[in-house]
């Protein structure tokens, strides 16, 4: 079978990213060795180091895919025509849906901050989901809050969502957390 270089590259990168994702989720980044990754992907280490600068770059590629998937899922939810409050709650629900993909919380919320540093994670994930949340909050609160306070609230609620996503993945009842979020949100309107 004669494949073009572009096809080969695409196929190899994808195989590596998916194999790495499986192993990073299963054993964590530090415990996953590159020989294991390439064996799972059906290639050699030469291919890995040809396409990625190092192991961390491969992890970053996995993370970027994950962040894009989350962003796409959230973008896909229709919020137009709903009240600001409903938009926030729908957004939260969509976020939980997005984070329900197996292993996603481990990758994005546990491994990534330690491996890539908080800044890179902020760039990948928060820039997306947190941006949406900030706009939603601004809409909901009206012109009442200044920029700094809005940023602080956004960050803190985003962290709360992350923690809720982890709890939900580990078996907690989703309704309970969505209710608690609604309580937090509703309280904000008179602050």
């Amino acid at each position: 079978m004669a494949r073009s270089n572009k096809e080969r590259t695409e196929a190899t990168r994808l195989a590596l990213i998916e194999a790495a994702r499986r192993l990073f989720v299963e054993k964590g980044y530090a415990e996953t060795a590159t020989p294991d990754i390439v064996a799972e992907a059906g290639v050699t280490r030469g291919a890995l180091y040809h396409h990625f600068e190092d192991k961390k770059a491969l992890f970053r590629a996995v993370l970027e895919r994950e962040g894009e998937a989350v962003a796409a899922h959230i973008e896909g939810v229709a919020l137009e025509g709903t009240s600001p409050r409903a938009a926030l709650l729908l957004g939260a629900s969509a976020y939980f849906d997005a984070m329900a993909a197996p292993g996603r919380t481990r990758l994005l919320l546990l491994e990534a901050p330690a491996v890539l540093g908080l800044e890179s994670v902020v760039a990948i994930d928060r820039e997306n989901a947190e941006g949406t949340l900030r706009v939603g909050l601004a809409d909901f609160l009206g012109a009442g809050a200044n920029a700094a306070a809005l940023k602080a609230l956004t960050e803190m609620l985003s962290a709360a969502f992350d923690r809720a996503a982890i709890a939900i993945e580990t078996g907690a009842d989703r309704k309970t957390y969505e209710g608690a979020i609604a309580d937090l949100i509703d309280g904000l309107v008179r602050a």
Copy 2:
């Protein structure tokens, strides 16, 4: 100088823990090699592996010290005689004080979850700080909320505090975050 075995052990363990803490804070757990740690501590790797099962156990010892310091700081704040609301806000402020120790947010909030797993971290840190928060919230909310909802709120607020602590360490204005926390808390009373 003739030192007793107990003294030697105590001194060596402390030197290792303090050296490891410095390096873990500076370069992160994964990037810190045991030869560097023992050099910084002025001992050999033989001593390290005599006192600790492995590198992870040394990290755990660092973390436990850190968690104890946070708990001690929070316990040291007098909350008796204050209103439930004031108790919560004072507790939050005390938490920020405690987390202001250099490197503490990195160790407890970024490295620990990835290195030890979320469960171990919950056991070390949350069991302490989160327990206090849960009681404070229960006091504040009265008999209004059920146990599951209280647990969810506690976890989410705890995560919000953590994120605020990180923001504060990276230069954000503390007053802004304390104000945002007050807003979140105050909103909860009518939910």
